[in-house]
Subunit: 289 residues, 2 copies
């Protein structure tokens, strides 16, 4: 079972963030705990992915069959719970109450984000604020918690804790906006998973949101007809959304968050950490899958 769940590893960007953040005061004594925390972060992420796939009825994850597809939705629910509780066991062993508090708040925020997203399905009246809230809770929050809990682990000062947490938070939001953008990619092979999933699942993300905002009555009607259409014509829908500035406005939003991330990363005093965070920022924004 474990072999199936962890066969493909993903980008491990969250655990990297955790390790970078705790590297400020790396030493022999905290080595094992730093690694344990990075593993906890990756396990928490895996647990949410397994539950996500049940919710989205996804058949593919990281280029492989998803758990719910391989066995059943019931397995997806329970294996997600199992991984989550394993993460819980591991994090308690680190014996740091502030770290535990941060991770408990973060996991709650993540499920809040997923619930907001679920109720946003098919909701063409959704506001930009809600979309940003979803991006933060669903994705930015665990990036932030990865860095913040690692800062607590090494008992760093308030200033560093804030700078590294904010940097991580914005990298996470960028990661999610980019994810929404990549889903509008016509070339699936490059992406390694089916594209246009959001629109097929009636999920309104940034490109659709901006296009709809700029559309006339007739175009709005066409856009609405795309939602939930499993056999959507990708080129046709991309063309319309692109012509209504859905792609370019999403890229603009990405750029604004890039500035936010950059603002905090540039403040980091440690040269190595600043450099590594900038690299993660580039990875988040430039990745093509």
């Amino acid at each position: 079972m474990g072999r199936k769940v962890f066969k493909t590893s993903g980008k491990q960007i969250r655990s990297k963030l955790s390790l970078i953040s705790s590297s400020l005061k790396a030493n022999k004594q905290n080595y094992k705990k730093r690694i344990a925390l990075a593993a906890v972060i990756e396990l928490l992420h895996s647990a949410t992915l397994v539950h996500d796939d049940v919710i989205d009825e996804s058949s593919i994850r990281r280029g492989q069959k998803s758990i719910n597809n391989l066995w059943s939705n019931s397995h997806g629910v329970l294996i997600g719970d199992f991984i989550y509780s394993k993460a819980f066991i591991l994090m308690v062993k680190i014996k740091n109450l502030k770290l535990l508090e941060e991770l408990s708040f973060a996991t709650n925020d993540i499920s809040k984000g997923e619930l907001i997203q679920l109720d946003a399905i098919n909701n063409i009246k959704i506001k930009l604020d809600d979309l940003l809230k979803i991006s933060y809770y669903k994705t930015g929050r665990l990036f932030e918690a990865a860095a913040k809990s690692a800062a607590y682990l090494i008992d760093s000062n308030l200033k560093y804790t804030k700078q590294i947490s904010k940097s991580a938070k914005y990298i996470g939001i960028i990661f999610q906006i980019k994810d929404d953008l990549l889903d509008y990619q016509i070339n699936e092979k490059k992406l390694g998973k089916p594209s246009f999933q959001d629109i097929k699942e009636s999920k309104i993300t940034y490109p659709f949101y901006f296009a709809y905002k700029n559309a006339n009555i007739q175009q709005k009607k066409t856009l609405r007809s795309f939602l939930g259409n499993k056999s959507i014509n990708k080129s046709k829908s991309y063309k319309l959304i692109d012509s209504l500035n859905g792609i370019v406005e999403t890229k603009k939003l990405l750029n604004e968050h890039y500035k936010n991330a950059n603002f905090y990363i540039k403040k980091l005093e440690d040269n190595k950490i600043r450099k590594e965070m900038l690299e993660l920022l580039e990875l988040a924004i430039l990745r093509d899958k």
Copy 2:
């Protein structure tokens, strides 16, 4: 949402166990933490119920519509996660690492029990040992953790911790065996929920297990035909299972565990706690819903 989930409260036997266990050293200082822990236990239980209902595709819970029935399976998965993480937030606030460790192990064991049960569906070759493992992990484990974490909360001695935990564990297993027995009740009104659910879901529990063990080839064939039959004839199937000692052997098993529970409860030195634990034991074994 919260109103729907917590509209009906259930028996709250697990939180009672926690409060009884921590009552050994109740004082003004630990009052709030004792209550918080009882709430955590009840939240953990609620989270597993919400996920259970998704897995079993149950439409009714505590006489009301279940979450998955009211909204969707996706809501069931996410609301379960939300409640679980709320429990996690609350338990971290108690600031007791031993308590956290026990609860982390328990939640992991619970999901293990659910997974074993899932893979036991339709498995007529299941062993009594597996059924007992399911009863312990799925139910006894949280009863045990409720008492044990409460004993850690008040920093009680090893002897008391062991006695109260073992007592709680066996009450939990009894609770589950009784639950399996009640599912074979023909009168649904008395039960407050649909009966014969286990057999309809191809779930092999004690009454079926014992009956099958005692059946001849023809009877075995008939018993197998009951599994997964949504329009099962309750009187007919009850009659066969009863005639093959399925009910009486389950009651015998119940009695053995009653002796185990009693053995540990009788050792408890505090009169009030011993009396309250005996009352819970009676409730677990005598309840008719």
